[in-house]
Symmetry: C2
Subunit: 469 residues, 2 copies
């Protein structure tokens, strides 16, 4: 057992997984969480209830040996079910390959599983209801306030890992520190989101297709729905706060809310008996992207997960990216430990190597997630993009080893970094759109010939992008 | 004379021009500046001593009727003088058109001219040495601290215009306000800068070509020099803080500094007798880009200039962009006043229209300025880019009305918004590089035919970019 002591701030999804893994590596681990223990006390709203869990997240779960335990929590979603204004539906698979799908999973169930496993470790302790007030970056200590008693507590360790989410106190301490240049951005979309519910049928069944991610794309706004194990769906409305024809500010009465849903989402409205009540009660949340650099300071403190890179939810990759962070961090730590066995960890080198390896990828998924907002809310209803999607699905079905769409590269190819998925995926998208637009892909053409043309055009675009560098 | 009272925070270049213009429009104007009056007290270092003044800045100067007064302050620079490692020089004109050049101008001389003109206005008052502590956004009042007496003063007005630069206190009040979503980014390059001097000759002459912007591109780092009226040049070293083969951290002794300059900038070293002393005495400054949104709040407060959009200096557009801000703001105010004569200004509408019109362009120049960092420090020494530049200069000389390089569009086409210059300029650059790389532009080809090919390829690229939207 190593003597080194790691203080992890945050016991959400990223913090819990990270804590479990660090304990498995033999470090002494202390975890401090702002919220009460979710196993004892129901949490307040304001965070997404269910999440899309896919291959990159699974890597993290495998790392800690929980791949069997997570299976019962997962509901496979094989594609997007697109609902149009006339209540017609079209199913658009995520991939032409059968084994490529994403899963709907409850944030709470997953977090509880990770907390339970973490607490089994003898070298790991978790403290709840302690809010981090500030971090002493140079000495790896942090001051917390106990919500219940108002008392202050100071924790020290060899290093601090900040896994305290988008509103990270650890990151705030770095922002306010002023002794080094800290690049930072918070960028909000004009849209906010509100969670609503499609309840189960009386016998506990699903009121619409269970194994799909439902989308109602409406140009500027959209509704989505993900299934839960109890037969319900969690529905999320993405809508402008105050601009455009429809916006949250304008939906201020029962009449306005119902009229909007009758007009835009008539089939969904029929499935949501508690719509108006929920609409008034549930908060409207912002959609923001956070980036920063450096992620670490003094070889004493390092950020992981949303604390380092909060992203918008439109690629379903937030939790998956955070879990992949833990995998990359663990991999670098392992490499370092091998070459420096019997020596204390040189954390400054580990943190630097981690950011060097990882930041380009979390920057990429942040940008991809914003791209996908535009794709989901409007491109899914655009004929040119629909033709592209149809062609890609055909490629993936007929040539499963030769073609992988941007969505597949990001979601199912956990062996390819996000930055490479972005580079290749964007070039492919551009290539297909160019070829369709130029009328090059004729109806008589064999699918193989079309694929060859797409590949050639993609390589040409990638080459041209290189010239500008 | 209008009754409305405008409080302008900041009497730098942007604040002074804005104040003068608002006073010319008849508003009651109060200006409050953090620093002492530069006409009475020498300013401390840490800001660029001279600046590149070009067509967009000139629009602002014309707006207030000072185009004749500014002429004696300007030293024309017709192109880049590139210095290689062997002390050879190549002159690369900024344009193939003779009347397109930029000017070196002293920040202090220009600011003093604007302050003097502003103070001539009976409806304008300037207060110095008052640091803005915080702004009450909802009530257009601000608290200032007097440096000399430590006393606090509160100023109120109908509106506050924040022209208080990159470290804006007004913007900070918006960031901390928390009642609306505030998107914000500060992004630092890994490079810092340090200002040095090439002094005049003993008889007051210039030690190297006067009418050029000198560049010593060295891949990862570079030196530049701009002429001053007294025969000296202000030299700026752009160098990584701590990374790479050479960096500021490593230049910690006289020997290291001299060895670095002898190795990298031997011809410049000969012109800089006080190098080591200046290197130790002058501060190393950061290079950052700041963006934010919204620029305004409650129809009471609005940001202009660097306070809203600080950029890196590599396009020589920082001051020019700020002056263009004043032109755009004034234009919108004029339009609004015409349609609403005899009514108080609806400032919320003016601010909203101003940001809508302007933000896309300041975002564009921010990105272009970072691009140009890479172009200046390394592309100027890259054969492919040199061939492009040669071709563009030939196009501009032979077809002055048909071709405008990205640099010309940004710098000399003050009638084209930055965002359009970016869109068209990047497509042109890509088109030329593609055509050169593909060997399409053969030596036998007439220049007109080459231009036609570039134009066709550019349109194709612009069309393809549209498809992705």
């Amino acid at each position: 057992m190593k003597q080194e002591h790691i203080l992890i701030i945050g016991a959400g999804l990223c913090g819990s997984l990270l804590a479990l893994r660090m304990a498995q590596r033999g470090y002494k681990v202390t975890v401090v969480e702002r919220r009460p223990d979710m196993r004892k006390q129901h949490q307040d709203a304001g965070r997404s209830i269910n999440l899309a869990f896919s291959d990159r997240g699974l890597k993290g779960i495998k790392l800690v040996g929980l791949e069997e335990q997570i299976k019962p929590l997962c509901i496979p979603m094989h594609g997007r079910m697109i609902h149009d204004l006339e209540s017609n539906t079209v199913f658009s698979p995520y991939s032409g390959r059968e084994n490529e799908f994403i899963n709907s999973i409850s944030r709470t169930d997953l977090n509880i599983m990770l907390l339970n496993e973490a607490e089994k470790m003898p070298n790991l302790n978790i403290h709840f209801s302690l809010k981090c007030e500030r971090v002493d970056l140079e000495h790896a200590s942090a001051v917390f306030k106990d919500y219940t008693t108002n008392e202050q507590h100071t924790f020290s360790a060899d290093i601090i890992l900040g896994a305290d989410g988008a509103g990270s106190s650890v990151r705030k301490s770095m922002y306010l520190h002023k002794k080094f240049l800290f690049s930072f951005s918070q960028n909000y979309l004009e849209h906010g989101y509100k969670e609503l519910t499609i309840p189960p049928t009386q016998d506990g069944g699903y009121r619409t297709e269970k194994n799909a991610l439902h989308i109602w794309p409406r140009g500027e706004n959209m509704l989505i729905a993900l299934p839960n194990l109890d037969g319900s769906f969690t529905v999320t409305l993405f809508l402008s706060y105050s601009k455009g024809e429809h916006n949250f500010d304008a939906l201020d009465t029962k009449e306005n809310i119902l009229a909007y849903f009758e007009d835009q989402y008539p089939d969904a409205l029929k499935l949501m008996p508690n719509l108006v009540e929920e609409f008034h009660e549930n908060p409207t949340g912002p959609l923001g992207t956070i980036k920063c650099s450096p992620w670490h300071a003094y070889g004493k403190v390092c950020l992981l997960g949303d604390a380092a890179h909060a992203i918008v939810p439109f690629y379903g990759q937030g939790m998956n990216a955070s879990f992949e962070d833990v995998v990359v961090f663990d991999h670098i730590l392992k490499k370092h430990s091998k070459t420096n066995s019997d020596q204390p960890t040189r954390w400054a080198e580990v943190f630097e190597a981690y950011q060097h390896e990882r930041k380009k990828d979390t920057d990429a998924i942040a940008d991809l997630a914003v791209d996908n907002f535009y794709e989901m809310k409007s491109h899914t209803a655009n004929p040119l993009f629909q033709e592209k999607r149809k062609l890609e699905t055909a490629f993936e079905a007929e040539f499963p080893h030769e073609y992988h769409s941007k969505y597949s590269l990001v979601t199912f190819h956990e062996d390819i970094p996000y930055s490479e998925a972005l580079r290749r995926g964007r070039a492919q998208d551009k290539a297909i759109l160019n070829l369709i637009d130029d009328g090059v892909l004729t109806e008589e053409m064999e699918l193989q010939e079309k694929l060859n043309k797409v590949k050639t055009e993609t390589e040409e675009i990638l080459h041209e992008d290189e010239l500008l560098k």
